[in-house]
Each structure stands twice: as structure tokens, then as C-alpha cells.
Symmetry: C2
Subunit: 230 residues, 2 copies
């Protein structure tokens, strides 16, 4: 068969369990799998072209990360998120990310060139005729991750990752107005500047503004359930 997997077919680059994990994870983050949907081991195994064993491992891993919910003897279903989760996530984020950004300004571990380039590339992508939101999302996540890594606290990176890696947040930019987008991109440059100046309080403040602006944008969108179908 090997019909559905498509992209993952061909190279056995990673192990089956890893491939399966990445495939399911991508489907959830992209919104391809709706919240509440049941994930049957047999179906997934058939589609991806592996046996149920690696599928089970992938599902357990996803459960540990909070992307799916495991109901004993019943199966696994995609976690359903709501506006309450948005508030939990962003109140945590607006606590942790500014703090980490301030630390990064103190340590001086950040690769300012790389960060500046990421910010520039986001500008470029945003200027395209139809902005490539996936590309911007990718760059934005790398930007935020790089800053947290520069905080010197490895656990902070992991914690924030587990919190923000949910569909609700992952596709942040698809909910931005063009004004919110411009402001967000400007924040990135200002953050780099604050880091370059080695000013922790400035860095922390900008990052706090950045996160809370994102919060407001998403919140507005989710309180008006007028989004398109499916």
C-alpha cells in the first residue's frame, strides 16, 4: 500500500516510531485532526504503513506531551482546546518568556546575528503577495526558541515548548490583522536591539509586550467564533 503517507514514504530516515510520532504530531498541530477526534491505532498503522507497536509508542509520547488524551481501554483522542486554555497558556508565557528574555540579555549568550536574520526573513515573508504564514510561523518559533536557549536555562526551553506547541498557539499568525503582524515583527527587531544593548529590563519589557499583544489578538479572534468552515 504505502499510499497515504506520501511525504514520509521512501526513506527510512528515522525509525518507524519516530516517523509515526512526527506524522501524527504534524497532523494535530496543523489542525488536520480536530479536537476530540479519536485516533485508532489500527487506522494510523495502516495509513502510515507500520504496525501498531510504533503507533502505540508515538501515541504514548504525544499523551505525555499533552497533545492527546489517553483513556485506558478506550483509546486516544486529540485534546480539545478552548479559550480557557488560551488564557492559561498565555498567562504562563507572559511570565516565562519575558523572564527568559531578560536572562538572555544578561548572559549575552544570544547569537545576535542569527536573531537579526530571523527577524529580517520574517519581514520578507510578510511582504510577499500572499504572506507564507507557515514560513513565518517556523521562523518565529525558531526566534523565540533561540532566545530562551540563550537564557542559559535548558529546562525553560522545554517547558515553554510543551506549553506553546498546541494548534491554538502554533498557528498564531493566521489570526493576525496586518497591523498586529507589523507590530509583532517590529517587536522582534526591538528585542534584538535590547539584547544587543545588554539591557535585561528593556528586553524583558519588550518581550512582555510582544507576548501580551499576541494574547490579545488571539483572544479577540477566539471570542468571535466567526472563523471559516472546517
Amino acid at each position: 500500500m504505502t499510499q497515504g503517507a506520501g511525504s514520509e514514504a521512501g526513506t527510512d530516515a528515522g525509525k518507524a516510531a519516530e516517523v509515526t510520532y512526527l506524522a501524527i504530531r504534524r497532523q494535530i498541530l496543523s489542525g488536520e485532526r480536530a479536537g476530540g477526534e479519536w485516533l485508532r491505532e489500527g487506522d494510523l498503522a495502516a495509513v502510515i504503513g507500520v504496525s501498531r507497536t510504533p503507533v502505540r509508542e508515538a501515541l504514548r509520547r504525544l499523551a505525555a506531551e499533552g497533545l492527546v488524551r489517553h483513556e485506558p481501554n478506550r483509546g486516544v483522542q486529540v485534546e480539545a482546546w478552548g479559550v480557557d486554555d488560551l488564557d492559561e497558556i498565555f498567562s504562563l508565557r507572559s511570565q516565562l518568556e519575558p523572564w527568559g528574555c531578560g536572562l538572555a540579555a544578561s548572559t549575552g549568550l544570544a547569537d545576535l546575528e542569527a536573531l537579526a536574520e530571523l527577524a529580517d526573513r520574517m519581514d520578507e515573508e510578510a511582504r510577499r503577495a500572499p504572506p507564507d504564514l507557515d514560513a513565518i510561523t517556523e521562523l518565529n518559533n525558531r526566534f523565540h526558541r533561540a532566545i530562551l536557549e540563550a537564557s542559559g536555562n535548558g529546562r525553560l526551553v522545554g517547558l515553554v515548548s510543551t506549553v506553546v506547541e498546541v494548534p491554538l498557539v502554533w498557528r498564531t499568525f493566521s489570526h493576525y490583522s496586518s497591523e498586529a503582524m507589523r507590530r509583532s515583527l517590529a517587536h522582534h527587531h526591538e528585542i534584538v536591539q535590547a539584547l544587543r544593548a545588554g539591557d535585561p529590563e528593556w528586553a524583558e519589557s519588550v518581550m512582555r509586550s510582544h507576548v501580551r499583544a499576541a494574547w490579545a489578538s488571539l483572544r479577540e479572534e477566539h471570542l468571535d467564533p466567526e472563523q471559516g468552515p472546517s
Copy 2:
């Protein structure tokens, strides 16, 4: 066949995978399994009395929680922690726990009676001839968890749990001097009082003192490797 779960005898309360997970986890947190030690699936399966399948699931779950490290095609080894990890953990903790405690003071969700009782029972346990450190540890963890739960942010509970549930921190009290112990227990009562007063800043401050005092105690102990045998 012969799956009688001999060693874990008594109730087959949970499923094999759950039992296995809890068994291995307990061994790691108690220090029974040293950092760096390799955990072979076959051995664990034989000892616990299950097949390798649930053992693998348990190990994957522990890997996702950061208690063990999974090396592809090589196996799983217990994570080794050092003083650097202590600093990472406690700098995170002294950021998150005071914040959560302040939130709890604002929400008023905390069950003050239950918290006061936990604090009292810790006092009692500490007064025993040989203080039952395991009992105190258990009560202390429940105390801290209850406060975070009262913050109204469910994710905060999970995040802090994954951070503090390592042997280094779990057995905090076994490293306390009697003075540090008394101060720590006093903090608990003061925290309850601050929550009762509904004063977020007070609550936050006491919790910050509480956490940072613990940090100092543990750090001192770990910088002087003159501790008694195992």
C-alpha cells in the same frame, strides 16, 4: 501465562504498563537507581513480571518526563543530575511558585483548612524521635501542589511537577539542617496566613523566601560532597 505479577502482589490495581511505570519511577525518585545506570528492558520485565511491551511504554513515558534518557538502538539510562540542574530547577521554581502562590491568594480557591492541616501534620512528623522524612516529603509535596492548583492555572501545576520531580529535589528534607527545617515549616504556616488574608504580594514573597531558602540549603549540601553514605 505465569503473569501473576508476583512481586507487586496484592491488587492488580492498574494495568501492567501503569504498574511498571510507577515501579520504575519510584525507584528513580528514591535514588534506588543511580544516575547514568542503564535500564534494560529485559531485566525490568523479568523483575516486575511482565513482558517487554509494557516496560517499553513505561520507559517512553519516563523519557518524555525527563527522568530517563533514551538513546536510540542503545537503550535507556537514568538521567544524571548535578548542581547545574539544581540551579536550573530552583531558578525556575522561584519564578513560578511565588507567582502561582500570589495568584492563589487572588483567586481564593485555596482550601485553607486543608492547607493548615497539612502544615500542622508536617510539624507533628518533624517532632517525632526520628522525623519521618518520607512522610514530611509527601505532605510537603501535597501542600505545594494544592497551592498551585488554587492558582486556577492547571498547566502551572503540571509544569512545576515535571521540574521538581527529580531525585535531587524530591528528597529535599533529607538535606535540611534542623534550623532550616524549622524555618521551612514556619513558612508553610505563614503562607496559609497570607492566603487567608488574600494578600497576593505577601503570599508571593513568603513563597519566594521559602523556595530560595530551600535552594540555598540544597546548594550548600551539594557543593560539599561530604554527605554520609548513600
